[in-house]
Amino acid sequence: MNSRPLMTVRIAAAPSQKLGAVPHGIRSIIPVTGGDFEGRRLRGKVLPGGGDWLLLRSDGVLELDLRVTLETDDHTLIHMTFQGLRHGPPDVIAALGRGEVMDPASYYFRTLPRFETSTEKYAFLNRIITVGVGETRPDGAIHKIDEIL
């Protein structure tokens, strides 16, 4: 499958809201407080107000369900959502839980971002399938997103 880099999104997050055991698993909600993104065709900042609605499933896989709004440096708003999966060896996941920085190659953190925008310049985002490789950081996450060509 051919792909090319679209952008790197850095998400700054507030402490998670731990809802505990709900019918589908263990729910935590992470409010997004800001961040930035940069790629060859677009760059700008992540607006506060989005979040990632996490669900730890009974098989140990963490499901991600993110919604954020991006604002480009030329003032276009882009709605970004993704669903994703994160899992890995128990010691690695435990270290991430303690806020330690781990090599992202030591766990699986992949997402499927989708975009919406009304601006002609960025309308290509409405028409592509993309895949993200994620890295959990103590204060948020970094997502390297590739466009599937």
Binding site: M1, S3, D59, V61, Q83, G84, L85, H87, Y108, R110, T111, L112, R114, A123, N126, R127, I128, I129, V131, V133, D146, I148
Partner: protein, 149 residues
């Protein structure tokens, strides 16, 4: 982005149900009556009852929203959902609509897939993100599905 072949999936689609203009675009529902899939780690058939709920948007992109059930040759059931985008030059899309054979390199047809199964042998599918490249044929599409590593 590293990926590897998961399977090739061929579905059989009888004449679609054309619902016409609905609030989000033009809705066409393609029932899926059968099919086959084959890859290094799994093979079997597509059960009847699924479909692709397609929506032609105002920007000319076709959104794909597929749900099907697979049955492996050793009797496991696998539920697949797939979100995709399909677009291309107007003359290419017109030729496809007439049932003509067109090289898939002439248009964009990519999907993002998720899997669900309770069979331990195939539980790896619950834990991966996959993407596919579609090839529209008169009898129904052929998807080359790759696991994102």
């Amino acid at each position: 982005m590293n990926s590897r072949l998961l399977m090739t999936l061929q579905v059989v689609v009888p004449p679609p149900q054309k619902l016409g203009a609905v609030p989000h675009g033009t809705r066409v529902i393609a029932p899926i009556t059968s099919g086959t899939f084959e890859g290094p780690r799994l093979r079997g058939k597509v059960l009847p009852g699924g479909g692709d709920w397609t929506l032609l948007r105002s920007d000319g992109a076709l959104e794909l929203d597929l749900r099907i059930t697979l049955e492996t040759d050793d009797g496991a059931l696998i539920y697949i959902t797939s979100f995709g985008l399909h677009h291309g030059p107007p003359e290419v899309l017109a030729a496809l609509a007439r049932g003509e054979s067109v090289s898939p390199s002439q248009y964009y047809f990519r999907t993002a897939l998720r899997f669900e199964t309770s069979a331990p042998k195939y539980a790896f599918l619950n834990r991966l993100i996959a993407i596919s490249s579609g090839d529209r044929r008169a009898s129904g599409p052929i998807y080359t599905i790759e696991e994102i590593l």
